[in-house]
Symmetry: C2
Subunit: 295 residues, 2 copies
């Protein structure tokens, strides 16, 4: 069975019109017609109800449209992943990262990486839901920087460094590193936090933090995007808690106050990976962490 036929079918299932479809896929109407006949024949399944004027999908056709659409995408994705493996250091890796490292560690890392493997194509994404584990296992990502260690037997993990978590207040705020005693004193403050209800590691870290200090913060605004939070704080709309990495974001009019708590940065990637470029990228990550820690 030819995948091409399936692709044609998927277009036809959208268009429901042989001529337009034929045009869209650059073959003649007659060829398309015969492709569809052949496909139905091969499967032994009626896919289309044709009267001489209209085309519509049978139930089985609708089902196969839904299912095939997904699988064809997956097959394409698999192929592009295989290509990356095939091309090794001239290929590519796709990397996910938390927003906090975008200002210092990540640029340092990319710079380092680029000088070591100048031909490697790099694809960066900052995932919203931080489900790194799934992204790695589905080959949507090859290397995931994250705030937590993934515990999965087919994923390798490495701690790069730890950094303090900071309370961030507007410059004009009464609180300073010197007069800061405990989070408990901030019960009446308004917080801007990244979605506490979320399942990300940082969200659960925060929940836990407030739980330990035994109070519920007044959350004024929620945002997943650290840069946004920072800018709201600088506008005096509230205070927040973020990893100290954000101090490199050059936000104006804010003050960072270090807490006792620390948060780690981890690097996660698939074990037994066939894409050999990734090993090199991992090495480079470890090296960058050294560099970073010494700065």
């Amino acid at each position: 069975m030819d995948l091409q036929k399936i692709r044609y079918f998927l277009v036809l299932a959208e268009e429901l019109h042989f001529w337009r479809t034929a045009e869209r896929v650059f073959i003649s109407q007659s060829s398309l017609s015969r492709h569809m006949q052949a496909l139905e024949e091969e499967l032994g399944i009626r896919l289309l109800e044709r009267d001489k004027r209209n085309v519509k999908l049978t139930d089985a056709g609708k089902f196969l449209q839904q299912q095939w659409r997904v699988k064809v995408r997956e097959l394409d994705h698999i192929q592009s992943q295989a290509k990356k493996i095939s091309e090794g250091e001239a290929g590519g890796v796709s990397i996910t990262y938390p927003g906090s490292i975008a200002f210092k560690f990540l640029p340092l890392f990319l710079d380092n990486l680029n000088s070591k493997l100048p031909n490697l194509k790099i694809e960066l994404t900052e995932p919203n839901d931080e489900n790194h584990e799934k992204l790695l296992l589905d080959y949507k990502a090859d290397l995931a920087f994250g705030r937590d260690r993934i515990t999965n037997s087919s994923i390798e993990t490495y701690k790069l460094y730890a950094e303090p978590v900071c309370l961030i207040v507007p410059k004009a705020h009464w609180l300073t590193q010197e007069n800061f005693v405990s989070l408990k004193d901030l019960q009446s403050e308004r917080f801007i936090l990244s979605g506490l209800h979320q399942k990300t590691f940082f969200a659960s870290f925060l929940r836990n933090l407030f739980y330990n200090y035994d109070f519920e913060p007044q959350v004024l605004i929620e945002s997943d995007f650290g840069g946004m939070i920072l800018s709201l704080v600088s506008k005096g709309l509230g205070i927040t808690i973020l990893p100290s990495s954000f101090s490199y974001a050059k936000a104006e009019n804010v003050r960072f106050i270090e807490l006792d708590e620390e948060i780690g940065l981890y690097m996660n990637w698939r074990k037994n990976e066939l894409n050999k470029a990734i090993e090199r990228v991992v090495e480079c990550g470890k090296e960058t962490a050294m560099l970073y820690s010494e700065m």
Copy 2:
């Protein structure tokens, strides 16, 4: 890209020998050789390292073997599901069920179903892990009988009936329906239970039960298979708790003592299902439940 080529590749990736592979797939060696060349060409990916004497997979080849193997299976499965839809009431449905209903409700249901839809092919499985939800969503099952209601927006659920949960003891045991007061009196008894650590609904039901009566049972033996548990009880190896349905299993030498707790039986299936036979099967299930309740 022809799926057939991929199938050939998967065989070749196992055999690593063109002649043997060609024989296994009933084509000539030359044809196979050219198929593999064409496949590599199309993908732009080297799959095989050939010297004149040996064949082995490249890294990309290994990757594609792993991934394609899965996807090809999935595509086949999709196709067979489409076939069932296409054939309607002359097609088939696959049904999962918990062991407890195998003695009375299920035979009644199947009998009823068979008289209503005599051409329908039925595939029965008793899943170990009871992850009905996933089975339904992956189209591994079309209708799932289970002890819990699945709450998923694309799954429809219907309560068939509720039945008491029973304590089951050997005939010679001192405990009877009359002298039974509370589970608490059974702290010193030895239990044979279905794996309490499991994630099945019945396991969590049991955990909850013991939690409410505020004691931890002494679990002597664990088994997932109700029939086995029953036979162990009849041999005097311990006592157990199971849905009262098991009383239809005609186990010798055991006594059932009804508890106050009840447990339901639910029927779950996909919403907006294209396989029209399933609607009829569902109806039939509801009808059977009426019948069953009146008996």
